[in-house]
């Protein structure tokens, strides 16, 4: 009788041990910093022996499709999702995300950069923890600039950029004055052009959700963009996204590149970049109107409400976005490879700022971006380089196609703007924002 009880007892212990092992399914983008997180994740598993991690790594667009479908249909396939400052406002409002109130005592939420934290908070509740944050900045070749006798100010204007592009272009030597995104997509060329348009005084919608592509500000923006890239940009610019421009810059073909601040780590890395010691940084340009052309984005980790392992998920998120994680990456990969743009403490750390020449500009750019007031005139939406409404992915991509076609020379700037206006109006009408 006793023997049987003992067996039962042992059996129950074994069963409960097996049951207490949780599995977290983590969906993430295939960016370098996330891949590092995956590599270092055995540190988390060592500290939390009851939790096993399973990874789903995908390219950004496919990931967004899958994750959105899952969260909207309560599919329950993921416990941790990598989403951006675009999804958080929308999903947080729908109640699809778990409120992150259990991140631990040492987490120090106040340390998160204010602009980023604001982008991930809805109704005073934090719904996602930032993994890395970025803004946009100017990267330029110090050697080409001194050869042309120019000096880049810390806060350049768009007219200066145009002049500098002209002076540094040398097509026979395969050097192009300016490289910018041209590939169509709401996160590709539209991100850049929207941020640019803010500095030209334009906006996507007025307070009544009427699209504003018929405004002079938009006409100025697109004309400047198309002229600049057609005259001083590389061939095939209309198909170039972040990666294409990165490889162009790293192989010495661009004098100026305006793009995400995360590129700073790539272009100064001597292993991959042929121009690593010649790179200078400056703030994104403006037109003196009060808004600069820099954007704000943070890849963040969130927990869908449909997850069955919210406690374990929050533990993981806490680990991946903590100060200790930053130190861990520094130990294993060096300070320059630490995920940037999330915590003030990182930028106060001299080890980091001395290893990362792009740190100060990154910090300044992030701090100067204001998603709640992105434009000169009032707007009914949040988002600097996007509009945080569900319809934006479709509209943004369709308008991006028009702008890309204008850059390729297939249609004129006026036509592109007219099409953009019509496309956006149609969709807004169907979605019942306007009559």
């Amino acid at each position: 009788m006793l023997a049987r009880l003992k067996i039962l007892f042992v059996g129950a212990m074994a069963l409960s041990a097996a049951v207490s092992a949780q599995t977290l399914t983590i969906a993430t983008v295939n960016n370098g910093d996330m891949i590092t997180m995956k590599e270092l994740s055995d540190d988390f598993e060592a500290k939390n022996p009851g939790i096993q991690l399973k990874w789903v790594t995908l390219e950004e667009n496919i990931l967004r499709q899958r994750v959105t479908t899952d969260v909207a249909t309560n599919g329950g396939q993921y416990d941790v999702m990598t989403i951006g400052t675009y999804e958080v406002p929308i999903w947080g409002k729908q109640g699809w995300l778990t409120h992150l109130d259990d991140l631990g005592e040492n987490y120090d939420e106040q340390d998160l950069l204010p602009a980023i934290r604001a982008g991930l908070t809805v109704d005073d509740k934090l719904f996602a923890a930032p993994f890395y944050g970025e803004s946009s900045m100017v990267m330029y070749r110090k050697d080409l600039f001194s050869k042309a006798g120019l000096e880049m100010p810390k806060e350049p204007t768009w007219s200066f950029i145009a002049k500098a592009a002209e002076a540094t272009t040398d097509k026979s030597a395969g050097v192009y004055g300016i490289c910018l995104r041209g590939k169509a997509g709401w996160g590709e060329n539209i991100a850049l052009i929207t941020a640019m348009s803010n500095s030209f005084g334009a906006r996507w919608f007025d307070e009544n959700w009427q699209p504003q592509f018929d405004s002079k500000a938009w006409s100025d923006t697109l004309t400047y963009y198309v002229d600049l890239l057609s005259n001083y940009g590389p061939p095939g610019a209309s198909a170039n996204g972040f990666n294409e421009n990165l490889s162009l810059f790293q192989t010495g073909k661009c004098a100026i590149w305006i793009d995400a601040t995360v590129a700073g780590a790539f272009v100064t890395n001597a292993e991959d970049s042929g121009v690593a010691d010649q790179v200078g940084f400056a703030m994104a340009p403006d037109n003196g109107l009060g808004k600069r052309g820099n954007w704000l984005w943070a890849w963040s980790l969130a927990v869908p409400s449909s997850s069955k392992n919210t406690d374990a998920a929050q533990k993981f998120i806490s680990w991946a976005t903590s100060k200790d994680y930053l130190t861990l990456v520094a130990e294993k990969k060096g300070w320059a490879k630490v995920p940037p743009g999330t915590r003030s403490s990182l930028y106060a750390n001299e080890d980091y700022t001395s290893a990362a020449p792009f740190a100060q500009i990154t910090l300044d750019s992030i701090n100067s971006a204001d998603p709640s007031n992105p434009t000169l005139e009032a707007v009914p939406y949040v988002g600097v380089q996007f509009v945080a409404i569900p319809e934006f992915q479709g509209i943004g991509t369709a308008v991006g196609q028009q702008f890309s076609a204008a850059l390729a020379g297939n249609i004129s700037v006026d036509e592109a703007l007219k099409n953009a206006q019509r496309i956006t109006q149609r969709t807004m009408r169907k979605a019942r924002y306007i009559k």
Binding site: Q65, T68, T69, A72, T73, I90, Q94, K183, A184, G185, P234, P235, G236, S238, A239, E244, S247, L248, K253, P390, E391, Q393, G394, I395, T397, A398, G400, Q401, Q402, S404, A405, A408, N410, I411, N419, R422, R426, T427, K430, A431
Partner: protein, 290 residues
């Protein structure tokens, strides 16, 4: 008596396949038709009210719709033309005596085994890229300006990539058909004085008509819903230059998670595909008869 017995047995044997296909077809179709008449956006939880044909109206009045429709036809027609013309040529060539015939066949067959996403990525990054691609290097070597394939010739670029993938398939089927030609008849015609061209047009080609029909049918089914290649290379652009109906459904509806309009688009695509199938059957259906 045994015929009656086997006839009912025959019907029973058909049941699993037909039943499964009915379920597989009816259930999604019904769901799609249902969703296409309600207002259902995944990201905007609402009442999902009935809105009649509004989704269809929006989808069909989209200025991109006409362009996508023509692009779809161009895409299918272009690939069919290249693969069949090329396939016939290659099949005739491979039928000749040569050294290492097996290895040549191996090499020509290879593209069919490659995943569409992989081949699109390879073509896009390693060949057609106007700065780093091999075609660009080649052009510079010749002293010419590199062509920006995806901006200047988006649809043609997609056609090239898809044709590369399907050429082996067409070649294979046509080669098998050629190898079943009656050699004696050919020799008899030669003795009668027929030259290579008339032999080809009056004897080989008619014999191939069955195989050509099979190729057209299978390829059309797959080509009407090309998606991955466009997604990876041009994303439908610039503008709508390389958008086909399938991709239009994606950008118009799925990208915004508008399930209602995506479903309406799906129904429209089915109608179009069936129309194409009917036209095809009229044109070449007789070739399928035994």
């Amino acid at each position: 008596m045994s015929t009656l017995h086997s006839r009912s047995l025959a019907r029973v044997a058909l049941v699993p396949a037909v039943a499964l296909l009915i379920v597989w077809m009816i259930v999604p179709l019904c769901m799609t038709i249902y969703y296409s008449v309600i207002d259902y956006n995944l990201l905007v939880p609402g009442d999902n009210e009935f809105i009649g044909f509004l989704n269809y109206e929006f989808f069909l009045t989209d200025p991109a719709f006409t362009e996508s429709f023509y692009n779809t036809l161009l895409l299918v027609g272009g690939v069919l033309f290249i693969t069949i013309a090329g396939g016939i040529g290659l099949a005739v060539l491979l039928d000749q005596a040569m050294y290492g015939q097996n290895y040549v066949r191996l090499l020509i067959l290879a593209p069919f085994f490659v995943m569409p996403t992989v081949s699109a990525l390879v073509w896009k990054n390693m060949f057609m890229n106007p700065v780093n691609g091999l075609f660009a290097h080649f052009a510079v070597f010749l002293g010419l300006e590199p062509i920006d394939f995806f901006s200047q010739f988006p649809l043609l670029s997609v056609i090239i990539i898809v044709s590369w993938q399907w050429l082996p398939f067409a070649t294979l089927i046509l080669l098998t058909s050629i190898q079943s030609l009656d050699r004696e008849q050919l020799e008899a015609a030669e003795l009668d004085g027929a030259g290579p061209f008339s032999k080809f047009f009056y004897m080989v080609l008619p014999h191939l008509s069955r195989a050509i029909t099979a190729v057209i049918l299978i390829e059309t089914i797959f080509l009407l819903s090309i998606f991955a290649e466009i997604f990876v290379t041009t994303s439908g652009g610039p503008g709508y230059a390389s958008t086909n109906i399938t991709y239009l459904i994606y950008t118009q509806s799925l990208l915004q998670f508008d399930v209602g309009m995506a479903s309406a688009g799906g129904v429209v695509a089915v109608v179009i595909a069936n129309l194409v199938a009917i036209v095809l059957m009229r044109l070449i259906g007789k070739n399928l008869e035994g």
